[in-house]
């Protein structure tokens, strides 16, 4: 089974432009994340999927300079970008990881992919439905067949833009599996390791300052949690965004997510609910 991990990245984030190029311990955030993904034990190819927009030339350059493969595809249809890349690479299994998770735990990647391969007849596995790991450890695994079917059938702009919601919303068509964190805890709404806002970046930068050791194996999720146990004030840097998820804007469209699964961001509080 040839497995491909795809990290989708673009530089035109509306809330924090060029965030993936911001430095963490002397290297771009995207490269730091690729290093962490590369530390997973599972055998897979790793490719950054960016867009054909000139604004993303910098992502191509940074990725190649760091020694990783890069692919350019549709600027807004992420489902198409994933599909075209998977076809080009002739893979059996595609793993989708967003590029705003610079603290992603290699063990979480291994756990989700491993569970997917151990289960028989599964089209899609993730650790997101419901989530339990700290937010920013998003791993979604799907068969090429499931990706191709979603690519052929999904028509909602929202499904095209985010790749996997079509699978989430059709448990009648796909066999779905959720991987829960072994600890039994759910830190997805209290611990935010994803980068969407300036404060998120400040938090992650502080974690790297505290834990990063040059030329050493990447620090683990356990190391981060131990740091936060000793320095709980670090969580206050971006506490107002804890529990905020991107799909809060699509609650009316998503069948599998409700307001109970997310919080509104401070800037949403005066906006009408979707």
């Amino acid at each position: 089974m040839k497995t491909l991990v795809v990290v989708q990245a673009r530089s035109t984030s509306s809330r924090l432009p060029r965030k993936v190029l911001r430095p963490l311990a002397g290297k771009p955030m995207l490269v730091r994340q690729l290093e962490r993904i590369d530390a997973a034990q599972t055998a897979f190819d790793l490719v950054v999927a960016t867009t054909t927009a000139p604004a993303d030339d910098a992502i191509v350059e940074v990725t190649r300079r760091a020694g990783f493969d890069v692919f350019r595809g549709h600027p807004t249809d992420l489902l198409d970008r994933h599909y075209q890349l998977a076809v080009a690479k002739k893979v059996d299994v595609v793993v989708k990881i967003p590029s705003d998770c610079p603290l992603i735990d290699p063990d979480a990647i291994d756990r989700v992919i491993g569970t997917f391969f151990h289960a028989s007849g599964v089209d899609y596995a993730s650790n997101l439905h419901p989530p339990s790991w700290p937010d920013g450890n998003d791993v979604e695994v799907m068969t090429m067949r499931a990706l191709a079917r979603a690519h052929a059938e999904a028509t909602r702009p929202f499904d095209r833009e985010h790749t996997t919601p079509y699978l989430w919303d059709h448990p009648d068509r796909f066999t779905l599996l959720n991987v829960r964190w072994e600890t039994g805890l759910d830190l997805s709404r209290s611990h935010r390791f994803t980068v969407d806002y300036e404060e998120d970046y400040q938090f992650v930068a502080r974690v790297f300052e505290e834990l990063h050791i040059p030329n050493a194996w990447p620090f683990s999720l356990s190391d981060i949690l131990t740091l936060l146990e000793r320095r709980p004030e670090l969580l206050q840097i971006h506490a107002r965004y804890a529990g905020v998820n991107w799909y809060r804007h699509h609650l009316g469209e998503l069948r599998t997510k409700s307001l109970a699964d997310t919080r509104l961001a401070p800037e949403d509080e005066h906006a009408p609910l979707p």
Partner: protein, 337 residues
């Protein structure tokens, strides 16, 4: 190399699981401060578990101990995939511990039964930790429960524990009390009072009555109070100063050394009564003295950790066989020998 997760708690409990880990040299050991399930963690974040081993204060002490001893910390067992979990209690068991194999080590003396323990036994949906440590050993969620003495084994069986899963090993912090005689604590032949954190754990405590009883027993001899580490030291010190102005008050220090040098030991609900008994002291406790003698931990020259490690080895060897049987003939029930 096989991997074991040791779940600590108070410093006493953490020392115990550390002692077991030291004996399991062929295993890769990771440690975590105590943590619970989602409900318990929610209480902790709300600050409602602060006086328990789930609270931030005791977790920090545990982490400090782990760092001071350069032990590998795996917070919450986040790395997962453990071949063995060793916990200091079964009152709260996170999911990672329930996956087994799980060995629980008795921490020491237990809270006496009361209304809350009867309610928890009657209404099984109530969390057993509401009754303090009274219902320790009654979860049935462990594969092996290593206890302090034959007396405790009888006690746990009477409480409903499965005798086939209980092993009388002794417990590491209370199995070699003679060694406490070798200490540099400067005082001798005083009357020592070891207080309990009863109020901090939401139980009744008539502190004034305790101080007056201590003054009566001391009958003019030097009186020394050693406060429980989880106690509000400022409040308790002020109370003692008011009712026994000449007494010495120690909020910290080596309790066992203080017991070794005393003439009389007065305790409330504390495991220190066992140390006093083992050292032949005159002991006054809220627990009946006959009961204490029956329950007193084995004095085996400090071999409890080694015995518990052996229990872990036997269990995990057996678990491998059961795992093979499971593959061949289906799932066995937990703990079936």
């Amino acid at each position: 190399m096989r991997r074991a997760l040791f779940i600590g708690g108070s410093v006493n409990q953490t020392k115990q699981v550390h002692a077991v880990a030291r004996e399991l040299r062929e295993w890769k050991a990771s440690f975590t401060p105590f943590f619970g399930d989602r409900g318990v963690e929610t209480l902790r974040r709300l600050g409602l578990a602060e006086t328990t081993i789930c609270g931030d204060k005791l977790r920090k002490r545990c982490l400090d101990y782990l760092h001071d001893h350069r032990l590998e910390v795996d917070m919450y067992g986040a790395r997962g995939d453990y071949d063995l979990v060793v916990s200091c209690t079964d009152l709260v068991l996170p999911r990672i511990a329930r996956r087994g194999p799980l060995v629980v080590v008795q921490e020491g003396i237990l809270d006496p039964p009361g209304l809350m323990s009867r309610l928890c036994q009657r209404y099984s949906h109530l969390p057993r930790w509401l009754a303090g440590t009274t219902l320790t050993g009654t979860s049935g969620a462990y594969d092996r429960f290593c206890v302090a003495s034959e007396g405790y084994k009888r006690h746990f069986v009477a409480m409903g524990a499965d005798p086939s899963r209980i092993r009388v090993t002794g417990i590491p912090n209370f199995d070699d009390c003679q060694r406490f005689r070798d200490n540099d604590f400067p005082l001798r032949d005083y009357v020592l009072v070891c207080t309990s954190d009863t109020r901090e754990t939401f139980k009744r405590d008539n502190r004034r009555e305790l101080v007056q009883r201590a003054l009566h027993i001391a009958a003019g001899r030097t009186l020394l109070f050693k406060l429980h580490p989880n106690e509000n030291a400022r409040r308790s010190t002020a109370e003692i100063r008011k009712w026994a102005p000449n007494a010495h008050v120690h909020a910290s220090g080596n309790t066992e050394a203080m017991i070794a040098n005393c003439a009389v030991l007065i305790t409330q609900w504390s495991s220190t009564a066992f140390v006093g008994l083992a050292l032949g002291k005159e002991v006054h406790s809220n627990h009946p003295s006959d009961e204490l003698r029956e329950l007193a931990p084995l004095q085996n020259g400090g071999n409890s950790a080694r015995r518990i490690a052996q229990v872990c080895r036997e269990l995990t060897r057996r678990t491998r066989v059961v795992h093979l049987r499971t593959i061949l003939w289906g799932r066995p029930s937990r703990g079936v020998a």
